[in-house]
């Protein structure tokens, strides 16, 4: 009985609403007509699609190509640093672990990597120790200049050992400050050299953007790409001025000083939010965290190592223009900027020879401003969430701080950003 009533009620409601109509929205036909009246645009759109694919692939491979050539150098150098660190101290006679004492110059020579022909700027002390013929790369003058310190290292092994043994306890502190000063001078020198027209490699950082909601896979996946840029290994000691400024360390007296700088790939993690203004244009912002990590190695015979870690939190703001898209894929171009604040710093100084280290923090007060331009490809998992790959170029403005980072070395830098993006709006 009740069932029958229900059916009747439903039937009545259905019939009653059957021919009901609502007023048409204003201006909708005009909108539709505009969109429908574009049969010629379809091939045009396809052309855009093809162009977008080519552009993204080209930019990606360009970025990867630039990135991959210094990568090999980096690995070797990384290895070198580790091995040098693992060398037992030779100057501390009381050290129980001091079992496998070696002559420092020789130890370095053994652990340093062979250098391939193309690495004009990548020369390390002691490399000639493993290679009978001296440096065969670069311009004539540069090559001979580079080989100098190596020779002196080998020649003065004995006397250096003696001198180190006779050193007092406070010397490391003094030399540490001196080394830091020299490190800065060297960095300055490097920049000066570059300005004077020395050959320069382009650097590539790889940014990993992702979100707190994503699994750690994205992040770990990126770690496989970790690389660093090897900024000229030979610095300082190129003219009298630099020598005078740099050579105030007792240990390295009579030797050419060098600084190896190794900038690790900047890693950015964060959440990205995209707000669509209309079909084609969108605004994007978010919150990003970046770690800039740099290792320094300074000195000639006795080395000081520095591990500098800068933690940045920043807010990007970008405008996005869609190039081509469907429900699943999207290609776009974006341009914008970011402001970042250094929230935490750590400088660890390692006196490898004596197995000691100090930690301190640095002051980086100024904001880091940058502008970026990129093309991107995105795969949407849902209309709101997508994975994107975005090769681009970033320019970092000088923040006028005295801290050396990859952004100072290479203000204009390729980057490849990968991450998750939340989209809202139309």
């Amino acid at each position: 009985m009740e069932m029958k009533d229900e059916d009747k009620w439903i039937e009545e409601l259905r019939r009653r609403m059957e021919n009901y109509s609502e007023p048409l929205p204003d201006g909708l036909w005009e909108e539709l007509a505009k969109e429908l009246n574009v049969p010629k645009v379809i091939p045009f759109r396809r052309m855009w699609y093809a162009a977008a694919v080519v552009l993204v692939l080209l930019a990606s491979s360009l970025a990867v190509w630039f990135w991959s050539s210094p990568a090999a150098d980096f690995e070797r150098q990384d290895m070198m640093v580790q091995e040098v660190l693992s060398q037992p101290s030779f100057s501390d006679g009381d050290d129980e672990e001091n079992l496998d004492m070696g002559v420092p110059g020789q130890a370095l020579a053994e652990t340093l990597p062979p250098v391939s022909g193309k690495q004009t700027a990548v020369l390390s002390p002691g490399e000639t120790g493993t290679q009978p013929s001296p440096v065969t790369v670069g311009e004539e003058g540069e090559a001979s200049r580079m080989s100098l310190p190596v020779e002196s290292v080998e020649r003065t092994d004995e006397s250096e050992t003696d001198r180190n043994e006779g050193r007092t306890e406070e010397t490391p502190r003094a030399s540490r400050a001196a080394d830091r000063e020299r490190m800065r001078q060297n960095a300055y020198q490097l920049r000066q050299n570059r300005k004077n027209g020395e050959k320069e490699k382009f650097s590539v950082g790889l940014l990993a953007g992702n979100t707190p909601y994503s699994s750690s896979n994205t992040y770990n996946g990126m770690m496989g790409f970790v690389s660093s840029y090897q900024a000229g290994n030979l610095m300082g000691a190129v003219n009298d001025k630099a020598t005078a400024l740099g050579q105030n360390s007792l240990e390295n007296q009579g030797h050419e000083s060098k600084t190896n700088i190794k900038h690790h790939m900047p890693v950015t993690v964060g959440a990205s939010f995209r707000w669509a203004l209309n079909e084609d244009w969108a605004l994007e912002t978010g919150l990003m965290y970046t770690l800039l990590s740099t290792d320094w190695r300074s000195g000639a015979v006795s080395y000081m190592e520095y591990e500098q870690k800068l933690h940045y939190v920043g807010i990007p703001l970008k405008v996005q223009r869609s190039i081509w898209k469907n429900n699943r894929f999207a290609f776009y171009a974006s341009a914008g900027g970011a402001v970042e604040k250094c929230v935490s710093t750590k400088l660890k100084t390692i006196d490898a020879d004596r197995g000691r280290s100090w930690e301190e923090s640095l002051d980086v007060d100024p904001l880091q401003w940058s502008v970026t331009a990129a093309v991107g490809a995105q795969v949407n998992f849902t209309p709101q969430l997508g994975l994107y790959l975005e090769p681009g170029i970033a320019y970092y403005f000088d923040d006028n701080s005295s801290i050396e980072t990859i952004r100072k070395e290479h203000p204009l830098n390729f980057n490849l950003q990968l991450g998750l993006r939340f989209s809202v709006g139309r």
């Binding site: 009545e12 009653r16 429908l36």
Partner: protein, 184 residues
């Protein structure tokens, strides 16, 4: 222009025919959108996307006699609306508002005395999940099994949401009567 001619010309991408189709059927399709979506702003978006889809896929339409074009258009629009709801509403997360459900259902009085626009408003005001199930059951004549498959919910959820939607409708209708036909 007959229904058949209109469809044919639309297939040929004739702009005048398209405009004719829009003007002839647009307002009843808008009613469908509003009935499913609930708010006018979003319904407009769905109507827009639905018309784009209609003109893109009108080639698939085959004329089967008077009324078949309208039936086809309505079907496309309902699918568009469901697609929208699927994207924007979590069907399974609709809360069941037990308090709002009165024990007794009274369907004796029907709906004949309630104006169309009032019924439309009442349907539009239903909670989203209830509304979808209610629409599909009442206006598309789908079974709870079919609705469950379409929306990715269980058959039981579909029937209980329908029951609650209907109960809310009846209550709204009663209140309306009390307010407007106090002599009853």
């Amino acid at each position: 222009m007959t229904e058949e001619e209109l469809a044919l010309k639309c297939k040929q991408a004739d702009n005048l025919a398209r405009k004719e189709l829009y003007e002839r059927y647009g307002s009843s399709l808008m009613a469908i959108c509003l009935r499913y979506i609930g708010d006018r702003e979003s319904a407009r978006d769905v109507l827009h996307d639905g018309f784009i889809r209609i003109f893109q896929s009108i080639g698939l339409f085959t004329y089967k006699g008077t009324g078949s074009l309208k039936a086809w258009l309505s079907k496309v629009m309902v699918n568009e609306a469901l697609g929208y709801l699927r994207k924007h509403v979590q069907m399974s997360q609709q809360e069941v508002l037990v308090d709002e459900v009165p024990d007794v259902q009274d369907t004796d009085e029907g709906v004949a005395d309630i104006p169309h626009s009032v019924l439309m408003r009442m349907i539009a005001e239903l909670p989203e999940g209830y509304r979808t199930v209610f629409n599909l059951y009442v206006f598309e004549g789908k079974s709870h099994k079919e609705i469950a498959d379409m929306l990715g919910i269980t058959e039981h959820t579909s029937s209980s949401q329908f029951y609650r939607a209907k109960t809310l409708m009846i209550r709204k209708i009663k209140e309306y009567r009390k307010e407007h036909y106090s002599w009853k």
